[in-house]
């Protein structure tokens, strides 16, 4: 009898516990609804909900978080409008899924969202984003050449504007000078500039032979790193063969010697032990591990990544590194065999967009204008460590004097862009799967076959081509 009673008590408590847990999650999602959906707060104020990606390390050091708060504090409509900062804590791979889900639902839709420009055409085609063409018509800075034209193009689809670009970037090879010196790749005080992929492999070999505990080469290589794996790694390599993702007719190239060559290079890096261990590189924190830990701690030789990693090394960044400008160098990524144009880089960028389901569009656009006003914007682009989209900011002493910015901005002149259409972001996930399988041991040929199958599934067999 007593046993039964205990059992009953146990069952009840377990049930109560699990119900409480369900209630808890339900409650929090309700909270999310009211904070983002209801656009007039309890005090009758209008409300702007701002959504961006946070990597979960420390919100206070997040450049976008600092930016939106600073902009709000200095906004003349501050007293009339409430600001709701609603970051999405996710790795880059999952951020776009969450954004798409939020944008589709009026109940959870934010008023202002950070969109990567590669995802923008996709979300615009889905009808998730507000056409800002009429808004920018009255935005003096937009029409006076204060924004770079190439940046304006990145947010324009079928002559309609879907966002205000707030940063762009270029990529290259970051190298730790003392590691390369110790390995004998460069002499003290010398700069490194590889001329071909073979030069990179040779440097890796020298590092491996001479610096036993150092990872020679790091690049994003996992699905968890999302777009970073496609753009910073695969496309930086693949574009160096001279090939592009789509041919002149807009068909996706899914099998070609160039693809196999690029994958072979990646495979060479990882099978020879030049790359980081899979446990380090296949998780969502990989890019932070390399730039904030391994490179500053002299545990990494060469890192293929973007200019923004310098943002975290600054005094107020996530991993301050005193004197980084002397410790690291930035080299351009060479083409496969050094053929013209000799180097390659890709440029992307992010934009501020207003979702279609936002019911505070006019006010939000005013807020965007304030966020992008030179005074507010300058500090933010310094925090982000990225390349600015405004011509007047580019001339500011404080901006242009940043280490490496001259080089990185020069890369921009010959930079390539990703395909701008609503299929790319899905093709990109197949690229990530292909890269991850190669670095974890699949043969380049098999990975390429899988890539073909996956891309054909999404864009249709007719829209693919094999060379």
């Amino acid at each position: 009898m007593k046993k039964k009673q205990i059992m009953a008590l146990l069952m009840t408590s377990v049930m109560a516990f699990s119900m409480a847990a369900c209630g808890g999650s339900g409650g929090s999602s309700d909270g999310g609804d009211s904070s983002s959906g209801g656009d007039s707060g309890s005090s009758g104020k209008s409300k702007i909900t701002f959504t961006f990606r946070d990597d979960g390390t420390d919100l206070e050091t997040n450049a976008l978080y600092k930016w939106v708060n600073a902009a709000y504090e200095s906004w003349d409509k501050k007293d009339e409008v409430e600001l709701d900062v609603a970051p999405i804590t996710a790795d880059e791979g999952n951020y776009f899924t969450k954004i798409a889900l939020q944008l589709a639902d009026p109940g959870t839709c934010p008023d202002l969202v950070c969109e990567d420009t590669f995802q923008l055409p996709n979300d615009a085609a889905a009808g998730y984003l507000t056409d800002l063409t009429d808004y920018v018509a009255d935005y003096a800075d937009w029409n006076d050449g204060k924004y770079y034209e190439s940046m304006q193009k990145m947010v324009t689809m079928d002559d309609k504007v879907y966002g205000i670009p707030y940063c762009t970037d270029t990529r290259g090879l970051w190298y730790n000078k003392s590691v390369l010196e110790q390995a004998g790749v460069i002499a003290a005080g010398e700069e490194w500039q590889p001329e071909s992929w073979q030069d990179i492999l040779d440097a890796c070999k020298a590092i491996k032979d001479n610096c036993p505990d150092v990872v020679p080469f790091w690049c994003n290589a996992g699905k968890a790193s999302g777009e970073a794996t496609s753009m910073q790694t695969y496309e930086m390599i693949y574009y160096g063969t001279g090939a592009r993702l789509q041919d002149e007719d807009g068909k996706w190239i899914t099998k070609s010697p160039e693809i196999e060559e690029s994958l072979q290079f990646l495979s060479d890096i990882f099978t020879n032990g030049y790359g980081p261990s899979l446990s380090l590189v296949l998780n969502g924190q990989a890019a932070n591990t390399s730039s904030r830990e391994y490179l500053p701690q002299n545990k990494l030789g060469i890192d293929l990544d973007g200019i923004w990693i310098t943002g975290s090394w600054k005094e107020n960044g996530a991993a301050p590194w005193d004197g980084y400008e002397d410790e690291v160098g930035l080299a351009a990524m060479p083409t496969s065999e050094g053929q013209d144009p000799g180097t390659v880089t890709l440029a992307g960028g992010w934009a501020l967009s207003i979702p279609e389901n936002s019911d505070n569009k006019d006010l939000t656009f005013e807020f965007i204008q304030h966020m992008m006003s030179p005074d507010v914007y300058l500090q933010s682009i310094l925090d982000q460590g990225n390349i600015c989209t405004r011509t007047d900011t580019a001339e500011e002493e404080e901006y242009s004097a940043q280490p490496f910015f001259e080089t990185a901005t020069k890369f921009l002149e010959t930079a390539d862009f990703r395909p701008q259409n609503d299929q790319y972001s899905t093709v990109s996930t197949s690229i990530q799967a292909m890269v991850e399988s190669v670095v974890s041991g699949t043969s380049p040929a098999d990975a390429m076959n899988q890539y073909h199958t996956e891309v054909a599934r999404v864009v249709g067999e007719d829209n693919t081509v094999q060379k």
Binding site: N94, L278, L282, S425, Q450, T453
Partner: protein, 295 residues
């Protein structure tokens, strides 16, 4: 007389039906309608974003055709079965052993060991995977411990990913099997065991010839329940390996998530969901058949 009896019977039935309505409504709203919708969506090109998100179209069997020609489907099915069989064997054998060893032991002993094993079961999947991550990581607890004995570390999560998720799932699920077997073993009459012992059967013979046949219904039910819950495991694998590295732990639920939510192709994702439903249904039918022949 008979009329009033019938009337009373009808009234009773009506009362019962009224009481059933809330349950039926809930079942309809949260179970039957979603299933029907899922079946329907699996025949469309519905997408999470892109132009197909605005107005999706009926595409017939396209999603199924693509699924069946994709080599990843086969890999996912294979992975699902490896994970399923590994988990089933691990959970049942371990659950039974613990239950058997705990039988007839002192109450105090049972009171300490039982909750320890239950702890793995009560924890939410995501906490289980975090614990396992801390334990199996290259610089995790396990490698630190064997490091003390100067044994070189093992890269579990990336070197032996399938083994890792199976161990994690076994740890999570063993308690359920253990409880099932405990109650079944408690019902095995001591007299039969006594008789067997008097007839000269040793422990192993008693176990194989007497105890196992007595609880075979429980074994079958337990296997079926474990199968269905293992087929649906997502969070555990997602948090531990993300289905990787490469395709190494890509089971059907992970494959479905990647296709539906990461590649934004909801229609194709639901088609994979239907495949998962089919696998579950086939397993259920096999188990119920096995159970029936025994009656």
């Amino acid at each position: 007389m008979q009329k009033s009896m019938r009337k009373k019977y009808m009234l009773d039935q009506a009362k019962k039906s009224v009481l059933l309505i809330p349950a039926m409504v809930l079942l309809l709203a949260f179970f039957i309608v979603p299933i029907i919708l899922t079946v329907y969506y699996s025949f469309t090109n519905m997408a999470l974003t892109g132009s197909a998100a605005q107005n999706f179209q009926f595409v017939g069997l396209d999603n199924y055709k693509m699924m069946l020609t994709d080599p990843n489907t086969l890999v996912s099915i294979k992975n699902t079965f490896i994970f399923l069989i590994g988990s089933l064997v691990g959970q049942s054998v371990l659950g039974f052993l613990i239950a058997y060893l705990m039988k007839n032991k002192a109450k105090g002993f049972r009171r300490v060991i039982g909750p320890c094993i239950l702890a793995g079961w009560v924890m939410p999947e995501i906490v289980v995977s975090l614990c396992c991550l801390a334990f199996f990581d290259v610089s995790g607890t396990f490698n630190k411990m064997i490091g003390l004995l100067n044994i070189p570390g093992v890269d579990f999560i990336y070197g032996h990913p399938m083994l890792t998720i199976i161990i994690a799932n076994v740890w999570h699920g063993t308690a359920f099997s253990m409880m099932n077997f405990q109650s079944a073993l408690d019902n095995v009459s001591g007299d039969i065991e006594e008789a067997a012992r008097v007839d000269g059967a040793n422990r192993i013979q008693t176990l194989v010839r007497i105890i196992v046949p007595c609880i075979k219904d429980t074994i079958a039910t337990n296997t079926m329940l474990n199968t269905l819950s293992t087929l649906g495991v997502f969070g555990l694998i997602w948090a531990l390996t993300g289905g990787g590295p490469g395709m190494a732990t890509n089971t059907l639920p992970i494959y479905m998530y990647n296709m539906g939510l990461k590649n934004f192709q909801l229609g194709q994702g639901t088609a994979i969901g239907m495949l998962l439903l089919l696998v579950g249904a086939v397993c259920s039918i096999i188990y119920t058949r096995v159970l029936k022949t025994d009656d």
